[in-house]
């Protein structure tokens, strides 16, 4: 249940192009709010709300030194999304493997004299 709630937060955070671009930028290294906001044509309070969604999902962390707030990525949290996707892929691959086996069997039956 805890994991499901975490997946909700993480996928919600990832569902927005502005927030994904912020994560891409933070993958290169920590940045301040104004550095992060610079490429976006958006009011600062609106932009800060995006940062708050990211921080709530725990995909990023922030710290304040003096008047400057700096953000950095918390990559271990991306594992929540990665694990969920891996699990889906694994079950589909298992299904496809079974399908392949089944088709092989049909083929063998057909070629039996």
């Amino acid at each position: 249940m805890v994991q499901a709630a975490a997946a909700d937060e993480v996928f919600h955070a990832l569902s927005n192009p502005t927030r994904r671009r912020v994560l891409e930028r933070l993958s290169a290294g920590p940045a301040t709010v104004s550095e992060l906001a610079a490429p976006f044509d958006m009011q600062l309070p609106s932009f800060v709300q995006h940062l708050s969604v990211l921080e709530e999902s725990q995909l990023v962390t922030s710290s304040k030194r003096g008047r400057v707030r700096t953000y950095e990525i918390a990559p271990e949290r991306l594992k929540v999304a990665e694990d969920w996707l891996t699990e889906r892929r694994r079950s589909w691959e298992a299904r496809l493997d079974r399908f392949e086996q089944y088709v092989k069997q049909l083929k063998e039956k057909e070629t039996e004299p």
């Binding site: 009011q43 709300q49 708050s52």
Partner: protein, 162 residues
């Protein structure tokens, strides 16, 4: 609990309306995502892209706004009080679950109260601010104008629910 906050005219923005509908419907319109989507955003400016609300102290309030330019603006906060048909209080100073959140934003605490008056409801929305600078910013940025329009849309929406 309801007397714990006093309005400070320098720091608070108060919007009041009489709605000719029972408090039950006003409460519904304030607390159900499908209703929030109908009135929360001035229609000429955009729409609500996504609304989520868990009506209990510590619960989430999340209303994502989509504006005409195409960019989404999220709003995220924590519910502090939820007294059905009387009072709903939330703040953007906290994340859901009371988790502390500190941002260089313009945070508010919103107090929405409703009281039976004749056959209708007296609805009062109060936004508490940190300081006069934040109040000024909210008055000049369009926030206040948008909130006034949204409140009128709330009134109209509640009337359509009757």
């Amino acid at each position: 609990m309801s007397e714990q906050s006093t309005v400070d005219p320098k720091l608070d923005i108060v919007i009041e309306r009489f709605i000719d509908a029972p408090t039950r419907l006003v409460w519904e319109a304030l607390t159900k995502p499908e209703h929030l989507k109908e009135w929360y955003m001035p229609r000429a400016w955009g729409r609500v892209a996504n609304a989520e609300i868990d009506v209990r102290p510590g619960g989430v309030i999340r209303i994502d706004i989509a504006v005409a330019g195409g960019q989404d603006v999220p709003n995220l906060g924590c519910i502090l009080e939820a007294v059905p048909m009387e009072r709903l209080v939330w703040t953007s100073m906290l994340f859901p679950g009371y988790r502390p959140a500190v941002f260089d934003d313009i945070p508010i605490t919103a107090i929405m109260t409703m009281r039976s008056e004749g056959t209708g409801t007296r609805y009062v929305f109060t936004a508490l601010h940190r300081n006069e600078g934040d109040v000024e910013a909210n008055k000049t940025s369009g926030w206040l104008e948008g909130t006034e329009i949204a409140t009128d849309q709330l009134v109209a929406h509640v009337m359509s629910m009757k």
